[in-house]
């Protein structure tokens, strides 16, 4: 995983609440056996019209969204299935952070393992972001702060271990494999076997 320390970008805003992973990437695109190239299907059924052309009304298709690496979405983003294809498609599209007032558990976990930063903010900050698409934002992962339009830095909560892995680009599988002796001891000392 690539280290991720700072993001400076414009924001693109999708204010809808409860955006589920079936919207982020519909199930019919999960027949892939690769992690690559899923960005073309991101928000497929909102982004494209029935004839396959871009839906001009969808925010990610608008000129002001081009190049924005931060997506601000409504409450409870990423609910639904456990498909890791959701963060894979966001990252492949070029999104590096998602901001909401609430982010679903499995989506958050999957995002952190791929270098997509899930950020939960308070309602007031969220409301400002939703109302100001295109504004610029600076995210500092090490200090867990975001700064809107050169204002005062706002802190956000992120698990310390996840943050450490993000800023150092640490792969959690490597961390677990270093614990193999402890895992073996656990297996050998259990009073019952599964």
């Amino acid at each position: 995983m690539e280290a991720i320390r700072k993001i400076s970008s414009c924001i693109t805003v999708l204010p809808k609440s409860d955006i589920d992973t079936d919207q982020i990437i519909p199930a019919r695109f999960l027949t892939t056996t690769s992690r690559e190239g899923l960005g073309v299907h991101l928000f497929n059924d909102w982004r494209f019209l029935a004839d396959g052309t871009e839906n001009p009304d969808f925010v990610l298709n608008k000129a002001e969204s081009k190049g924005c690496e931060v997506l601000v979405a409504g409450h409870n983003f990423g609910c639904g299935s456990s498909r890791e294809h959701a963060p894979w498609s966001l990252l492949d599209f070029g999104i590096r952070a998602v901001i909401s007032t609430g982010i679903a558990d499995i989506f958050r976990s999957n995002s952190l393992k791929n270098g997509l930063l899930p950020i939960e903010v308070d309602e007031q900050t969220h409301e400002w972001l939703i109302s100001n698409p295109g504004s610029s934002i600076d995210i500092d992962v090490a200090n867990s702060t975001l700064t809107i339009e050169n204002g005062k830095p706002i802190s956000f909560a992120i698990d310390g271990f996840a943050r450490h892995c993000l800023i150092e680009g640490i792969d959690q599988l490597g961390f677990l494999r270093n614990e193999e002796d402890a895992i073996t001891r656990f297996e050998e000392s259990r009073p019952w076997t599964p």
Binding site: K16, S17, D18, D20, D22, Q23, P26, A27, R28, L30, T31, T32, T33, S34, R35, D45, G74, H75, N76, C79, G80, S81, S82, R83, E84, G102, A104, D105, I106, S109, N110, K113, N114, D159, G160, F161, H164, Q172, L173, F175, L176, R177, E179, E180, A182, I183, F186, E187, W192, P194
Partner: protein
């Protein structure tokens, strides 16, 4: 958690699987007893193993099946896979190759126990009280019905479990949902869980493991309990659990992967100590009186948008998301759903495809016909359930009524295998998600119980099952 304090069911099982406790700096290392894998969320995990030259640490704790991308028509050879399309077919072939290469047991097309991953785990008795169970699938919460900690994981984590049999986890919070009362005729576990999700909301369980308690839950059989726990994720919860009791033990007794002989006696003793201490406390609790519960149906585009069958669709037009959902569903506030014409009825999925679900629907359909113009697809949860249903003659009941009787799989719940609801069509479905496009692009889904689904098939519009009991 203090070991001296009275513990909940969840806390006991969690504590029993800690390889390393969590600290401020690091999550806990949690040991996994049963890893279920399927063809959709594993190929990239096997790629990681291959890239790093790793093997599977515990093939004996890993069980594979194929369910999402598989046809619900018979598969005798590779050509029969063509109906699901090229991508899905290649995913199925890859699953077979990966399991062979890494030495993993796979319930493939030649196996009588193949079926939906969350149906077969309990069916073979591999799902047991006190275990930790994971799968790259959010409906892994189903297995919590046995008093296991069972939750869905992503593909990277599938790789972690394959390689190390462990996961890095922060301990979730606990939420008690106490359901009291007695189910009225025509009201089922599906209606109970839909009502619970309507009550606490689709994000209401986020960060929590739910324990379902109360006399309504303890009175349920295992299949009903599985329906309840299955949809915990639809309330955003990490997992759902029910304390093991005699119902649980009776269900497992004699199943192929359940312990036997002296091991069985030891296991029963261990399982009997799992229910939470009466003084144990939860981070939150919610009380629900189930006496007045009605058959429930969803009207929107998430499982929390739910009403009793005779209630009008609520009016919240000031909420743009709500209005958008009703526009998508082509429904208006103020009217009950019972006026809506139905195109398709789907009886199946890891929520409602077990023998009791099929039996309930078949009893209602016996001697009746489904309405003209309605297509009804019946997809058993496993090949075992299919065989049992056929030995009871249920397939003939469904076929005589005009329904389509299929091989097992996820089918129209996720619409990855060619079983889709066409654009704009209305489907009454016993599955778990009514998200936009879930059953096919532009498909409109109403989630309901098997009884409501069968009644709707007969009537040709969304129907109250109590008329046909």
């Amino acid at each position: 958690m203090n070991a001296g304090n009275p513990q909940t069911l969840f806390e006991k099982v969690w504590a029993d699987h800690i390889v390393r406790p969590e600290t401020a700096d690091t999550p806990a290392i949690l040991y996994i007893d049963l890893h279920l894998i399927h063809e959709v969320t594993t190929p990239q995990a096997f790629t990681i193993l291959r890239e790093r030259g790793l093997s599977v640490r515990r093939p004996d704790l890993t069980i594979g099946t194929m369910d999402h991308s598989t046809p619900t028509t018979p598969v005798r050879n590779f050509k029969d896979l063509a109906v699901v399309g090229e991508g899905a077919a290649s995913q199925v072939v890859k699953m077979q190759d990966n399991c062979r290469e890494f030495g993993l047991e796979l319930f493939g097309f030649d196996n009588d126990y193949r079926g939906i991953v969350h149906v077969i785990g309990p069916e073979i008795g591999a799902t047991q009280p006190g275990k930790t169970v994971v799968c790259g699938d959010s409906h892994t919460s189903t297995h919590g019905a046995f008093g296991a900690i069972a939750f869905g994981i992503g593909t990277t984590e599938v790789g972690h479990v394959l390689a190390t049999q462990c996961l890095l986890q922060r301990r979730p919070r606990t939420l008690a949902i106490n359901v009291s009362g007695k189910l009225q005729p025509g009201v089922t576990a599906k209606d109970v869980i839909l009502a619970i999700i309507g009550e606490i909301g689709i994000g209401g369980g986020t960060g929590h493991v739910i324990e379902y308690r109360g006399d309504m839950i303890t009175a349920m059989d295992m299949e009903a309990r599985m329906t309840i726990c299955n949809m915990s994720i639809e309330a955003g919860a990490r997992a759902g659990m029910i304390a093991p009791d005699d119902t649980t033990i009776d269900y497992l007794n004699g199943r192929p992967r359940a312990p036997s002989g002296a091991d069985w006696d030891e296991a029963v003793q261990r399982w009997s100590a799992l229910p939470g201490h009466p003084d144990a406390t939860f981070d939150r609790s919610v009380d629900i009186n189930g006496d007045d519960l009605q058959p429930m149906v969803t009207f929107g585009t998430n499982p929390g948008m739910v009403v009793a069958i005779n209630e009008p669709v609520p009016d919240a037009n000031s909420d743009t998301g709500f209005r958008k959902a009703l526009d998508y569903m082509q429904l208006s506030p103020g009217k009950p759903l019972t006026e809506s014409a139905v195109d398709i009825v789907f009886l199946g999925s890891c929520t409602n495809s077990r023998l009791s679900d099929l039996t309930q629907a078949a009893e209602m359909l016996r001697g009746r016909k489904i309405a003209d113009g309605v297509r009804m697809l019946v997809v058993p949860g496993s090949q075992q359930i299919k065989a049992e249903a056929e030995s009871l003659g249920l397939h003939e009941v469904f076929k005589s009524a005009g329904a389509d009787w299929r091989e097992s799989g996820c089918s129209m719940c996720i619409a990855m295998n060619g079983d889709i609801v066409p654009k704009g069509r209305l489907c009454v479905s016993t599955s778990n998600r009514n998200f936009e496009g879930r059953q096919g692009m532009g498909a409109r889904t109403i989630l309901a119980s098997p009884l409501t689904a069968a009644a709707s098939a007969i009537e040709g519009s969304v129907a109250d099952p109590r008329k046909y009991l």
